[in-house]
């Protein structure tokens, strides 16, 4: 039962180590084999969305608090590191940590009162917060004399290829950075599911009042999740700024980014370890292809697909693609497992073992 919460990975226990190893090898060798920048850019976006969704999943999935305003944190991260870079020439690697810390502080101040709100009320308050922040940034030309240029956006000054300045000429560098970031986020999520905090969060998600009566400090657990999530999300914002070398409020802290993150998480499987990655691998390429084919004039076309996919998932498999794959796996290999179990001692295959999380 130890692996009950890890979804797909849990099913692969026997061959888990080798599967992971092979997958990692493949992922790390892709830029060595395929040099096509368009393909690498697509993979970077997939990893970036997977990273953001993994970060969101800590609060939105494991803590069960549906945040529809996570773009606020990517925005905070991107703006903090970029402003520090422009003003003081501070390396974005450090700016990243500053942005993450700043986002975490904001998450505490906003989260502390808002976590008292339930379900839909919480979701509404996160939208209101993120939109208010976006409109404020859009209408602010400078803060304490430091220009942030409102809706016009900020350009990250080009300083040529250098590791310190987080600026690379080839896509492969960005690819490795975001891949490692994603793996770290995955590892952190994995650690959470194995930790006391993970069990507390799971208890809170199932029944707040019961968890509280068992002596779990509900708001402290949720705050911990929110701090982690905000910190990681903000770092994702910095990566975006360094990759595109341009940020504007509508792009990096707009509602559409928040919604994309949530949609990917739901489609992949909210509150599961692999859900965010599966969701990103399914949805982002589709989104990018539609964006490519329909060109610039019809910006939102990929959202039609996101919308349909989300509606279909909610109707037919509310636990996301993760659950579909687990069920498919059980269908294919579960039969064998059941027979073996019966043969060995009448112990039937425990299908709940692989059923992922609610």
């Amino acid at each position: 039962m130890k692996n009950a919460r890890t979804g797909v990975v849990g099913c692969l226990t026997s061959s888990k180590f080798y599967t992971t190893l092979i997958l990692l090898l493949v992922l790390f060798s892709i830029p060595l084999i395929i040099k096509n920048p368009v393909f690498l850019q697509l993979m970077i976006l997939v990893f970036w969305y997977a990273y953001l969704t993994l970060s969101w999943n800590i609060v939105g999935g494991f803590a069960g608090q549906l945040s529809l305003g996570h773009a606020a944190f990517t925005g905070i991260g991107a703006y903090t590191s970029t402003v520090l870079f422009i003003q003081f020439g501070l390396s974005p690697w450090l700016g990243m940590l500053a942005g993450g810390t700043f986002a975490a502080i904001i998450a505490i101040t906003i989260g502390y009162p808002c976590f008292r709100l339930r379900g839909a009320y919480f979701a509404l308050s996160t939208i209101a917060f993120a939109e208010a922040l976006k409109v404020l940034v859009e209408n602010t030309r400078e803060v304490f004399g430091i220009p942030i240029k409102g809706a016009q956006g900020l350009l990250v000054p080009l300083k040529g290829q250098s590791l310190i300045n987080f600026q690379f000429l080839s896509k492969a560098h960005y690819y490795y950075v975001i891949l490692i970031m994603m793996l770290v986020a995955l590892f952190i999520t994995y650690k959470i599911t194995k930790s006391k905090l993970g069990y507390y969060l799971s208890a809170i998600r199932n029944d707040v009042d019961a968890a509280r009566s068992l002596g779990i400090n509900v708001s402290r657990c949720r705050l911990k999740a929110a701090i982690l999530s905000a910190f990681l999300t903000a770092i994702g914002g910095t990566f975006y700024a360094q990759m595109l070398l341009f940020i504007d409020p509508a792009g990096i802290m707009g509602l559409y980014l928040s919604m994309e993150i949530v949609f990917i998480a739901i489609i992949g499987g909210r509150g599961t370890l692999m859900g965010p990655i599966l969701g990103a691998f399914f949805m982002v390429p589709i989104a990018e292809f539609t964006r490519f084919y329909f060109g610039g004039q019809k910006v939102g076309v990929h959202f039609i697909i996101y919308g349909i996919a989300l509606i279909a998932i909610m109707l037919f498999s509310p636990r996301g693609i993760n659950d579909l794959i687990v069920r498919g796996y059980n269908l294919l290999f579960g039969e064998k497992g059941r027979k073996e179990g019966n043969f060995l001692g009448g112990k039937s295959y425990d299908s709940s073992r692989c059923s992922g999380n609610k």
Binding site: L66, L68, P113, C114, R116, L117, R118, G119, A120, Y121, A123, L124, S125, I127, A128, F129, E131, A132, V135, L136, E138, N139, D207, L255, M259, V262, F263, I266, F294, Q297, K298, V299, G300, V301, F303, I304, Y306, G307, I308, A309, L310, I311, M314, L315, P318
Partner: protein, 294 residues
């Protein structure tokens, strides 16, 4: 002083439309206890439907309401029956269901962007002979279409009130909102009631869309700004309260038009968000405490 009065009156007129949109949202919440995130998109559908009725057939926007409102009712009824009901049923035992919220947010993205893909992002207007007409009240000017919208809102709210209080269907709707299981025991087909309630909520939004068309731009993402305002209003007035929705709408309208005198008009929405967050944190039952009044 005259300026302030004029602003206040304009705020009330615009706020009444916000109230009408929020009325649909609050009705759906009051009965089904779910939040319809696609509400603004249905408003957009109402506006586009009115627009096309007017441009294609040359009908007056107010006459075309006779078709747009029933159309919106049917749309809402079908969406509830085929999309929301299955998700709703799955979560009937869950304490804090958010499945419908997620589903409707998917619907929202789908509807807005499909419209965007089909009609493009351009702003459209309906040309009417009375668009520029205004009435003079003392030395205050009132724009005719806004005044008509205000009157329409009052009539619609009154009709809703009578419908919910006096008719047996209205009573069944209220009963379902109060206690689903008991209503079922009394022989109410609650899922049919949900369909009707959702349809009525969307019809009210369609009505608001139709009343907006003569004096507002029509574009695919028009719903979003109204959507957010409708949520704010509904929480201000207390989720599920009819007078709360209208009063909350007028408050937001007043804040918007009066505050626009003192700051950039785009920033007024930030003020509304702040009011919203404060109410949510300190008085989540709404400003007027009308909660659960059906």
């Amino acid at each position: 002083m005259r300026l302030l009065v004029e602003l206040a009156i304009n705020g009330i007129l615009m706020g009444s439309i916000y109230g009408l949109i929020a009325l649909g949202l609050t009705l759906i919440f009051g009965i089904m206890k779910v939040i319809n995130f696609a509400h603004g998109s249905f408003l957009m559908v109402g506006m586009f439907a009115t627009y096309w009725m007017c441009t294609l057939t040359g009908l007056d926007p107010y006459v075309s309401l006779l078709i747009v409102v029933p159309f919106c009712f049917c749309l809402g009824y079908l969406v509830q029956n085929f999309l929301i009901k299955p998700v709703f049923k799955k979560e009937i035992k869950v304490r804090e269901p958010i499945g419908v919220l997620l589903l409707t947010s998917g619907l929202w993205m789908f509807m807005d962007n499909t419209t965007l893909a089909i009609f493009g992002a351009s702003y459209r207007t309906v040309k009417t002979p009375y668009a520029q007409v205004s009435y003079q009240l003392g030395d205050i000017l009132l724009s005719a279409p806004q005044l008509y919208a205000f009157i329409g809102t009052i009539i619609a709210t009154f009709c809703m009130y009578v419908f919910l209080r006096r008719t047996s269907l209205g009573k069944a709707i209220r009963a379902t909102g109060q206690d689903r299981n008991t209503a079922e025991l009394m022989g109410v087909n609650t899922y049919r009631i949900y369909n009707i309630a959702f349809g009525v909520g969307i019809a009210l939004t369609g009505l608001a869309g139709g009343l907006l068309t003569p004096f507002f731009y029509i574009y695919p993402t028009v719903g979003f700004s109204f959507d957010i305002k409708a949520f704010i209003i509904v929480v201000l007035g207390g989720l599920g309260s009819i007078p709360g929705a209208i009063l909350g709408g007028i408050i937001i309208g007043l804040i918007e038009s009066v505050a626009a005198q003192f700051m950039t008009s785009t920033l007024t929405i930030v003020l509304a968000y702040v009011v919203f967050l404060l109410v949510l944190l300190f008085k989540p039952e709404g400003l007027f405490g009308f909660k659960g009044e059906w």
